[in-house]
C-alpha cells in the first residue's frame, strides 16, 4: 500500500504530446479513476506509473520512492489490462503464480497464496483450466487474481471491463468495489465510461488532450465542474450549453435570458461572452416547477422528439421556430436545442408548445473563450464559488 505522486509528468512522442504536465497526488488506499475520451492520455499516464512508458519529463513517486526510471517489475505495482492479457500457454494456476514463481517463492507459499487469491475472486476449482476454456468474466477474474496475489502496493486497471458485456460489467463493477474494500490497496482505474468513474471512485481525474481538467470527488465533478469540458463529459445525457453574453441585465442569448447582477460573476465583465450550462434534470415544465424556489423567467419552447426511458423521459426542446433538425449534430450541443429530463408520469406530446423554467440553483456559467467555470449557482444568496472548483490538484 502506498501513495502515488505524479510531478509534472509529460510524455511527448515525435509530433504529439500524449500527456501534458500532469501533477497529482493519490492518497494511500484511495480508488482513483482516470476518465476521458479516447486519446486523452489516460492510458499513457497510467503506463508511466506502471513503468511501461518512461515520461519525457517529470517524476513519478510510489510511496516515498522516486520510481521514474525503475523497471516495471521493481515498482510493486500490479496491472489488469484491457485485453485481459492472460498467458494463453499457461493454465490458471500458472498464470496467477507467474509473478510469484519469478520471485522464487517456495512451492508451498506459492500454492497457498494462489488459492487465497482464487478464493477472493471466486475461482475455486478452476486452477487447472486453460484461459481459452473460460468465459470472459472468468478470465477477467484470473487477471485480477494474478494482480492481487503479489500483494502489490498499487493496483493499476486499464479499462478492465471494456471487453465484457453490459450485464457482466455491472456485476464486475460491484465486485471491484468489494475487492477494494477488502484489500484496501491504492487503485488507479482507467476508463472512458463516466458511469464507471462516478460509481466506483473516491476521486475522479478528468483528462482531455493530455491535460488534467479536474481532480475531485465524483459529485463535485458533477455539481461543480471546473470547466465546460468536465461539465459536458460527466453526466449522461450531457449538460446543455447555451452561448450568450453578459450584459447589465444578466445573461442574454438569442432565446434564453437569465437575470443577474454582473458583479455576481467574477472574472468577466459586461460584454464578455459567457456560456450557460444546465443539466437536463434542471429544466422543468412550468406547471410542475412549484417546488423550485428560484426559477428563471419562462422560456417558450416547442417539444420535438420524446424518448421515454422508463424511469424518466428525455424531451428535446426547440428554442426557436427556426431551429434546425440537423442530424449530424449532437442534439445536446445544438445551439437551438435544449434537452429536458422529466418524470415518467408527465404527460407530454411531441410538437406542442410548452413553457419551461430553469432551476437557478443548478445553473453553471462558463467563460466562452476559455471554457473555465465562472459560477455554479445563480441564486442570490449563494456566494460566488468558482474558486472552490479545484483545477489543480497539486496545489
Amino acid at each position: 500500500m502506498a501513495r502515488v505522486q505524479l510531478e509534472h509528468v509529460t510524455k511527448r512522442y515525435e509530433e504529439v504530446i500524449a500527456v501534458d504536465d500532469i501533477s497529482m497526488e493519490i492518497e494511500d488506499g484511495e480508488f482513483v479513476t482516470f476518465v476521458g475520451p479516447s486519446g486523452c492520455g489516460k492510458s499513457t499516464t497510467m503506463e508511466t506509473v506502471a513503468g511501461l512508458t518512461k515520461p519525457t519529463e517529470g517524476q513519478v513517486y510510489i510511496g516515498e520512492k522516486d520510481v521514474t526510471t525503475l523497471a516495471p517489475k521493481d515498482r510493486g505495482v500490479a496491472m489488469v489490462f484491457q485485453n485481459i492479457a492472460l498467458f494463453p500457454h499457461m493454465n490458471v494456476f500458472e498464470n496467477i503464480s507467474f509473478g510469484l514463481r519469478l520471485r522464487k517463492y517456495d512451492d508451498e507459499e506459492v500454492s497457498r497464496r494462489v488459492e487465497q487469491a482464487a478464493d477472493i475472486v471466486q475461482l475455486e476449482g478452476m486452477l487447472d483450466r486453460m484461459p481459452d476454456e473460460m468465459s470472459g468474466g472468468q478470465r477477467q477474474r484470473v487477471a485480477i487474481a494474478r494482480a492481487i496475489v503479489r500483494n502489490p502496493d498499487v493496483f493499476l486497471m486499464d479499462e478492465p471491463l471494456a471487453n465484457l458485456d453490459a450485464k457482466l460489467r455491472v456485476h464486475m463493477r460491484t465486485e471491484l468495489q468489494r475487492l477494494h474494500r477488502e484489500l484496501g490497496t491504492t487503485i488507479i482505474y482507467v476508463t472512458h465510461d463516466q458511469a464507471e468513474a462516478m460509481t466506483m471512485s473516491n476521486r475522479i481525474a478528468v483528462l482531455n488532450e493530455g491535460r488534467l481538467q479536474q481532480f475531485a470527488p465524483p459529485l463535485e465533478c458533477y455539481n461543480q465542474p471546473a470547466n465546460r469540458f468536465v461539465a459536458g463529459f460527466i453526466g449522461s445525457p450531457s449538460m446543455n450549453f447555451i452561448e450568450g453574453e453578459l450584459t447589465e441585465a444578466g445573461f442574454q442569448s438569442d432565446n434564453v435570458d437569465v437575470e443577474l447582477e454582473p458583479e455576481q460573476v467574477p472574472g468577466v465583465g459586461v460584454g464578455d461572452g459567457v456560456t450557460l450550462g444546465v443539466r437536463p434534470e434542471d429544466v422543468h415544465i412550468v406547471e410542475t416547477a412549484d417546488a423550485i424556489s428560484e426559477q428563471t423567467a419562462r422560456i417558450n419552447v416547442e417539444t420535438d422528439v420524446i424518448e421515454p426511458m422508463g424511469d424518466e423521459i428525455f424531451v428535446y426542446l426547440l428554442l426557436s421556430e427556426t431551429a434546425g433538425h440537423s442530424m449530424d449534430q449532437d442534439p445536446a450541443s445544438a445551439p437551438d436545442q435544449l434537452l429536458m429530463s422529466v418524470t415518467p408520469d408527465t404527460e407530454i406530446r411531441a410538437g406542442t408548445a410548452v413553457d419551461v423554467v430553469l432551476d437557478r440553483s443548478n445553473l453553471h456559467l462558463f467563460e466562452t473563450a476559455t471554457g473555465d467555470a465562472l459560477r455554479h449557482s445563480l441564486t442570490d444568496r449563494s456566494e460566488p464559488d468558482t474558486g472552490t472548483a479545484p483545477t489543480e490538484a497539486d496545489s
Binding site: G51, L52, P72, N83, F87, L102
Partner: protein, 356 residues
C-alpha cells in the same frame, strides 16, 4: 423437382425425354439429370438445348470441358491432383532409384531402371565397415545442431528488436540483413579460409594449433551467418504478432524485456521457432561448399557427412551402391526431425496460441 415444377421445368423435361431417346447410349449424363432443380444442372441443360446439333459432335474431352465450365471445382480438383502427383513423383522417385542402386550388388550397376539387379541389403551394413560413417554423421549432426542453436538465439534477439521495437533505422537495418542474405557465399570463402587458417593465441588451449580449420567452428560460424537472415525474417514476423499486452503483463509481473521474450513471446511463437529451426538445421546439414572445404576430410577432424559419402569414391573404383546406401542413411535424421517438428508445428497452430 416435380413438386415445384415451373413451365421451364416442364419444357426441360420434354427436351430431356426426347434427348434421352435420341442418345440412349449416353448413360453417363443421366444421373446428373435425375437430381433436377439444381441451378448448375439447369445451366448445363440449357447449353444442351441451345446447341443440340453441336452436342452430336462432342467427344469425351469436350464434354469434360463443358462440365468444368459449369462446375469449376472439378477443374481445380484435377489441377490439384496433377500438381500433387507431379510433385510427389519428382520428389520421391530419386529416393526410390537410390534405394534400387543401394540394393544392387557391387559391379552390376548398369541398366537399373525400376528394379535392382539382384538383392543385397548388406550394403547398408557395409557402409559402416568400409568407413566410420557414423562418425561423419555425428559430425554433421553436431555442426547442424550447433548452427541451429546459434541461429535461433541470435535471430530471436534480432527478431524481437525488429518485430517489437520502434527505433530509428529499423527498416534500413532490415534491408541490410536482406542484402547480406543475397551475397553469394563463395565470395566469403577465400578470406574466411585464410582467417580460419590463421593461428590465434586465444584459441590455442581449445584447438591444438590455434586455428579454426578442422574444427566445427569453421563451419558453424559461416553457415550460421549465411542462414541467419531467413530465420530473422521468420521470427520477426511471428514475434511482431504477439499482442503487446502479453509482454506488458509479463514485465509488470516481474520479467525483464529479455525474460518476457523467453517466457512468453517465444513459447507463443513455437510454430515460427520450429519452422526457423528446422529450415536452418536442414540447410546446414545439406550444405556442400563450406562443408567440403573447411576440413581436410578426415572424420576425426570434424568432416561432415558429405566427405563420408565422397569417401566411397576411390582412385580406381567408385562404390556406387555404398554411396547410395550412405545417402539414404544420411537422410534419416532429417526425415525424423521433420516428422517430429511437423507435429510440433501443427499442435502449435491448433492450440490457438495466438488467440486472445
Amino acid at each position: 423437382m416435380t413438386d415445384d415444377s415451373t413451365p421451364t421445368d416442364h419444357r426441360r423435361q420434354r427436351y430431356r425425354y426426347e434427348y434421352q431417346h435420341q442418345h440412349a447410349d449416353e448413360n453417363e449424363r443421366r444421373p446428373a439429370k435425375t437430381d433436377g432443380g439444381q441451378s448448375t444442372d439447369r445451366q448445363s441443360d440449357s447449353v444442351l438445348i441451345d446447341g443440340e446439333d453441336a452436342e452430336l459432335d462432342r467427344g469425351p474431352l469436350q464434354r469434360w470441358v463443358a462440365n468444368s465450365i459449369s462446375n469449376p471445382g472439378r477443374a481445380y480438383r484435377a489441377m490439384f491432383y496433377t500438381a500433387t502427383i507431379f510433385f510427389l513423383f519428382t520428389t520421391l522417385f530419386p529416393f526410390y532409384w537410390l534405394l534400387m542402386v543401394a540394393l544392387t550388388p557391387e559391379g552390376r550397376q548398369q541398366d537399373i531402371i525400376l528394379t535392382p539387379n539382384g538383392f543385397n541389403p548388406g550394403s547398408f551394413v557395409e557402409v559402416f565397415q568400409v568407413l566410420p560413417f557414423y562418425r561423419y554423421m555425428f559430425n554433421s549432426f553436431v555442426i547442424a545442431t550447433a548452427s541451429t542453436i546459434v541461429v535461433l538465439v541470435i535471430a530471436s534477439l534480432a527478431g524481437y528488436a525488429f518485430g517489437r521495437l520502434e527505433f530509428p533505422g529499423r527498416v534500413p537495418l532490415m534491408l541490410l540483413v536482406l542484402v547480406i542474405s543475397f551475397f553469394p557465399p563463395a565470395a566469403f570463402f577465400i578470406p574466411l579460409n585464410d582467417l580460419f587458417n590463421t593461428s590465434f593465441f586465444v584459441l590455442e588451449p581449445i584447438t591444438s594449433d590455434g586455428t579454426l580449420y578442422n574444427t566445427p567452428g569453421a563451419m558453424v560460424l559461416p553457415l550460421s551467418a549465411i542462414f541467419m537472415p531467413l530465420a530473422i525474417f521468420i521470427l520477426t514476423t511471428f514475434y511482431s504478432q504477439i499482442p503487446d499486452g502479453l509482454e506488458d503483463a509479463a514485465r509488470v509481473e516481474g520479467t525483464t524485456r529479455l525474460g518476457a521474450l523467453f517466457r512468453v513471446i517465444i513459447p507463443l511463437s513455437a510454430p515460427g521457432v520450429a519452422t526457423a529451426g528446422v529450415l536452418t538445421f536442414i540447410a546446414v546439414y545439406n550444405e556442400f561448399f563450406f562443408s567440403f572445404l573447411m576440413t581436410d576430410g578426415q572424420p576425426e577432424n570434424w568432416a561432415p557427412i558429405l566427405e563420408g559419402i565422397l569417401g566411397y569414391q576411390g582412385q580406381y573404383q567408385v562404390m556406387y551402391h555404398l554411396m547410395a546406401a550412405a545417402s539414404i542413411i544420411g537422410v534419416i535424421p532429417v526425415a525424423i526431425l521433420v516428422i517430429v517438428a511437423q507435429e510440433k508445428i501443427v499442435s502449435g497452430l491448433t492450440a490457438g496460441a495466438l488467440k486472445e
